[in-house]
Amino acid sequence: MPLNLLQKLEILADAAKYDASCVSSGGEKRRAGEGIGSVTEQGICHAFTPDGRCVSLLKILLTNFCMYDCVYCVSRRSSNVPRARFSVDEVVKLTLDLYRRNCIEGLFLSSGIARSADETMADLVRVAKTLREEHAFRGYIHLKTIPGASPELLNEAGLYADRLSMNVELPAEAALEQLAPEKSATEIKRGLARTRAQIEASAEPSRAGRARPPRFAPAGQSTQMVVGADSSCDRDILRASADLYASYALQRVYYSAFSPTGHPSPSLPDKATPLLREHRLYQCDWLLRFYGFSLPEVEEAMPGGMLDLSVDPKLAWALTHREAFPVDVNRASREMLLRVPGLGTRAVDRIIAARPHAPLRLPELARLTGSLKRIRPFIVTPDWRPTALLDGQRLKQRLVPKPQQLSLGL
């Protein structure tokens, strides 16, 4: 019996849920005009599921039939999941129906590779094109691009999508060869390179006598790697992502902790990767991109190549660099303030904006930062000096939260 729309949705949303990225931010601002839909700068999370994740886009596969046998993937050909395929019109209608009810910001569309990379990519492009051209849909579209698809299809995808992404899948090429034998790291990198080149070409200022190049993926591109399916350590992962950020103008590298799919492959670890490992990697990613840390500095905090799960990496760095503290909140540079554990970029900006108006004491600082508990040992204000605290042997114990049972109750 053929599957109905609801059954297809259940199969194809289930297959897509392992992709971590669901954001709708970073696009160009748009309004509906004569059509339907808009894009805001920050994007919106329309709901949160009990895994704490934001539901922003309708994240589905076009089909979960796949020729490839990537062992970490629930849709690999040797997995015994139910299979389904949406038609282009079904995806278009589903997207518009949910969009009109204000459930989503738009569509995140990926696919198994059913016949060939080109045919699959062409189907994905057709969905985006239909939404944009036949229904004047102006909401957010994130398309996955398929490694090995032709440059022409990639170029077309960028005209309709806000964001493109192609997953590097694993941090090490050797692991990719082993776990995803049909995929080629070079094909994937070529795809990322092509998208970067197109994004840059469309961003070039128009020159006299030349038509402005059409906009291309205004929200940029991103990629994802699975953490914990191979033996790469955190240092390998962060080095790989530093290379990726430098090479392909990526908005984000997503880390997805390997988690059981219910369709295990014998060649995979039988345990899920701790979510905390994924979280620590994101923290490092942030330190590298927004806090002025260098890769060697972050690496100091991971003896043996692995991040300490019990301490966040910024605190770990501070604990081994006590000579850099305490920091005088009223005089220190932005760079130094960003190194204080517990101070985020926004709090630092607020401190810098507030300093000219009044000297900051602890009460003011509490208003600007929310909480002083973590900050205190590392700062100096006119009414506070942490000498004993900072030198104390028990500083780490004071600051590291005791392990807690994750709360399951509501």
Partner: protein
């Protein structure tokens, strides 16, 4: 103490008007009390006939007022008037001062209102109705503050081609035939079914949840329970949470899958080696084989190997150092900034680039990541030596009459020895059955900080290339 009545649904304009009159009457914050309600205007009641005061306030205060008046706290107007009074008293920088409790409280109120607006944008759920033969999308939402007016423009921008109505306990906003209107509070409508919300949306919400990542606290922090009553999908949460542990256990215990029937057939189909086209030239074989090169670790971070380009039997071959950022992306040699200098100099020397074979000593880009950029790194002698494998095969295939080495790395790759380029440049020497000429690498010209020196060096580079020009003619 004077009581200043404000309309129930007091807008920023209403408050501004009242506050200006109070300022004109020179009423201090201690002398006035603002209260919402449908009472006659203060100034009629008190007979206080004054023109509103004109006052310049910082732009940030105007924004602050527009948000804080929407807050549900009783003291919002008193707080704003106090700030206004102090601004008029000349307290500059008041709003930015973290030491000031009034300014901080107002900032907190504004932030709470912003958040409530965002949550309205996020958590309104429209249900489709048919009213008078036309589609109408209706929603019931319960905001914490009076944010309907602030939140409505978002829905206009997004759903301008639908008719919709958002009802809340403090008023309604409606968009019909291109006109936005606000009305009095409405009673909560009876919940009627909407197939998309009740079936498809709930199914999606349930399915996109990964039970192996249960983090209930994180969900509740982002999506407070007070909004759940108006979001149909939240009725599923207790069961989703309750069943998560069991689902994970069941997944753990499941034995490995037996592959479906089609798997073997697909595997056999894609395992067939792709038919190799008859290789017309040895260069095509080299180009294919170099893709899988693992002779040194440079292939890891680089995008792809960049092999030479040009006629298969060019009489002149140029050898550079290694591909750069642009070459790595494009997979073609000398297309970046140095390539442009090279092209210009070649043209001036009378050599057509398409008649020459252009390649590099090292085939992969060596770089160091620096944030969003890649910084070129000089290949080590070991990497250059390993990569001679490919360069020698290219030379053997093309059999040029003259090889032009651009820089010391090219010389190292070609001859296996280090030479002083500046001493040996511009002279043609015999080399393994052909001739060799060495000159600088065009990127050297780009690095010279002094414009005069750069111009001089460019001339010398062109002169060196002129020495090579007759070999090109011979082709």
């Amino acid at each position: 103490m004077l009581s200043v009545p404000l309309p129930e649904d007091c807008s920023a304009e209403d408050f501004r008007e009242a506050a200006r009159r109070c300022l004109a009457a020179n009423l201090s914050p201690q002398q006035v009390m603002f209260a919402c309600g449908d009472r006659p205007s203060l100034f009629e009641e008190t007979g206080l006939e004054v023109e509103p005061a004109r006052l310049n306030v910082p732009r940030s205060f105007v924004t602050l007022v527009s948000k804080v008046v929407c807050h549900s706290a009783e003291d919002r107007f008193a707080l704003l008037y106090r700030l206004l009074w102090r601004l008029r008293g000349g307290e500059r920088g008041l709003l930015e001062s973290p030491a000031d409790p009034d300014a901080m409280r107002a900032a907190l109120y504004a932030k709470a209102v912003d958040k409530d607006v965002y949550r309205m944008h996020a958590y309104v759920r429209f249900a489709e109705r048919e009213v008078d033969g036309k589609k109408l999308f209706v929603a019931w939402h319960e905001p914490q503050h009076r944010v309907l007016r602030l939140a409505a423009p978002f829905f206009v921008d997004r759903f301008s081609n639908m008719d919709w109505l958002i009802a809340t306990p403090v008023g309604t906003a409606a968009w019909r035939e291109g006109v936005l209107s606000f009305g009095p509070p409405a009673a909560r409508p009876l919940r009627q079914g909407d197939e998309v919300l009740d079936e498809l949306w709930k199914a999606y919400y349930r399915t996109t949840f990964n039970p192996a990542r249960l983090r209930v606290k994180a969900m509740v922090a982002q999506m407070p329970k007070r909004h759940w009553a108006t979001m149909p999908e939240t009725s599923l949460i207790p069961e989703m949470v309750h069943a998560a542990g069991g689902r994970v256990d069941a997944m753990q215990e499941r034995p490995p899958d037996t592959p479906p029937r089609f798997a073997a057939a697909v595997a056999a189909r894609i395992a067939e080696p792709p038919r190799q086209p008859e290789e017309a030239a040895p260069l095509d074989a080299i180009a294919r084989e170099v893709q899988a090169c693992r002779l040194c670790p440079l292939h890891g971070p680089a995008t792809q190997p960049v092999l030479g380009e040009g006629p298969p039997h060019a009489s002149i071959m140029f050898v550079g150092e290694q591909p750069g950022d642009q070459e790595d992306l494009a997979g073609k040699p000398f297309v970046g900034p140095a390539g442009q200098v090279f092209d210009r100099a070649l043209a001036e020397a009378g050599i057509a680039r398409q008649k020459a074979y252009v390649t590099n000593a090292v085939k992969h880009f060596k770089f160091e990541p620096r944030g969003k950029r890649r910084v070129h790194m000089k290949p080590s002698a070991g990497e250059v030596t390993k990569c001679r494998f490919w360069l020698e095969r290219e030379i053997a295939a093309v059999r040029p009459k003259l090889i032009v080495a651009l820089g010391a790395t090219a010389m190292l790759g070609l001859t296996g020895r280090t030479v002083a380029v500046t001493k040996e440049r511009g002279r043609v020497l015999p080399f393994q059955g052909c001739s060799i000429l060495v000159t600088v690498h065009p990127s050297y010209l780009l690095r010279l900080p002094d414009a005069d020196l750069a111009a001089l060096e460019y001339r010398r580079f062109v002169e060196d290339l002129r020495v090579a020009q007759p070999w090109c003619e011979a082709a």
